[in-house]
């Protein structure tokens, strides 16, 4: 008898509060699978952020800290520096990481902190009811851009992976997505690689996961996957943006 697929051990066995079809559930599982396959559950410490995924502290079977809005990379820096033998990750939405937490994120990358950031880009503030995020697309209708995001007044979306890849302190940055099984498999590989780099002391790693918010996008989970593919992927191309060790693997 061989198990082809089962719930990873690094996820606690409780129902998640996420809306039906929300990408957070898939991404949580991928993180847990990486932790399982590297056998690091006992020494991993996660930092939850503010947003729908704040309750990730209930879902990962690792020690968890909850940071104030946007501060997860700063908290993770302290945890990692005090416990360099532990594996430390943050799990942050785009409202958390790319708005209120921009400074913490940029400087953690610039310092080359040996932490892993799982950055969930769903182009909206989910928890608070669907306001425009820094990552909302030009023309995207949200609660606070009812006529569509007007780049002439509120500017352009922040491309986090492209931006951080310019910093010498960043070791590995990849953008992945969860809209189909092929991309989910690629996302799993990238997340595992980021954790592996951290265990090897290679420095700052960030995986941007392009995800969905079916509820605040006003779409069924299936249509949300289609919207992601048609609208987000052209603006946020998938791929490796930085890999300091690409030749040495």
């Amino acid at each position: 008898m061989a198990v082809v697929f089962e719930r990873p051990h690094a996820l606690t066995d409780v129902p998640m509060h996420y809306c039906p079809g929300c990408g957070h559930g898939i991404i949580h599982r991928l993180v847990a699978e990486a932790i399982d396959s590297l056998g690091i559950e006992g020494k991993t410490i996660g930092v939850a952020s503010v947003g729908c995924s704040v309750f990730s502290y209930n879902y990962f079977n690792t020690d968890m800290v909850q940071a104030a809005h946007g501060r997860a990379p700063a908290v993770a820096t302290g945890v990692k520096r005090a416990n360099p033998e532990n594996v430390v990750f943050t799990y942050q939405g785009d409202g958390d990481l790319a708005a209120i937490g921009t400074a913490e994120t940029v400087h953690a990358a610039a310092r080359g902190e040996n932490i892993t950031i799982i950055f969930v880009n769903n182009a909206i503030y989910g928890m608070t009811g669907g306001q425009m995020a820094p990552t909302s697309l030009p023309g995207q209708i949200t609660q606070t851009s009812p006529y569509g995001r007007d780049v002439n007044t509120v500017g352009y979306p922040v491309k986090v992976s492209e931006m951080l890849s310019q910093l010498d302190g960043a070791a590995y940055i990849e953008r992945v997505a969860i809209n189909n099984t092929k991309n989910i498999r690629a996302a799993a590989k990238a997340i595992k690689k980021a954790f592996t780099y951290q265990t090897e002391g290679k420095g700052f790693t960030l995986i941007e996961v392009v995800s969905t918010c079916p509820t605040n996008w006003g779409l069924t989970p299936e249509k949300a996957m289609g919207w992601l593919e048609e609208n987000m992927l052209p603006y946020y191309p998938l791929g490796v943006y930085k890999d300091k060790y690409a030749d040495k693997n």
Binding site: V4, P20, G21, G25, T181, M225
Partner: protein, 69 residues
């Protein structure tokens, strides 16, 4: 032989697994309602399942387990 099972009480009826199955074997069970109030996903012909795990990979709630015997 492939054995696919559903933890029906955890299913949120999102339908993503239905879209992911390459053999079109999955459907929402409109006869049943789970404790969360959703029509859960079910397999129409378990003997045709090839165990590719596409459905389980896309399920946000770890409802599906697949075992090969």
């Amino acid at each position: 032989m492939v054995k696919i099972s559903f933890r029906t009480d955890r299913c949120k009826g999102c339908g993503l697994c239905v879209t992911a199955c390459p053999k079109k074997l999955l459907a929402m069970d409109s006869e049943k309602i789970n404790a969360q109030g959703h029509h859960p996903a079910t397999i129409t012909d378990a003997s045709a399942c090839v165990g590719c795990a596409s459905c389980a990979l896309i399920c946000p709630d770890c409802v599906i387990t697949i075992i090969k015997e």
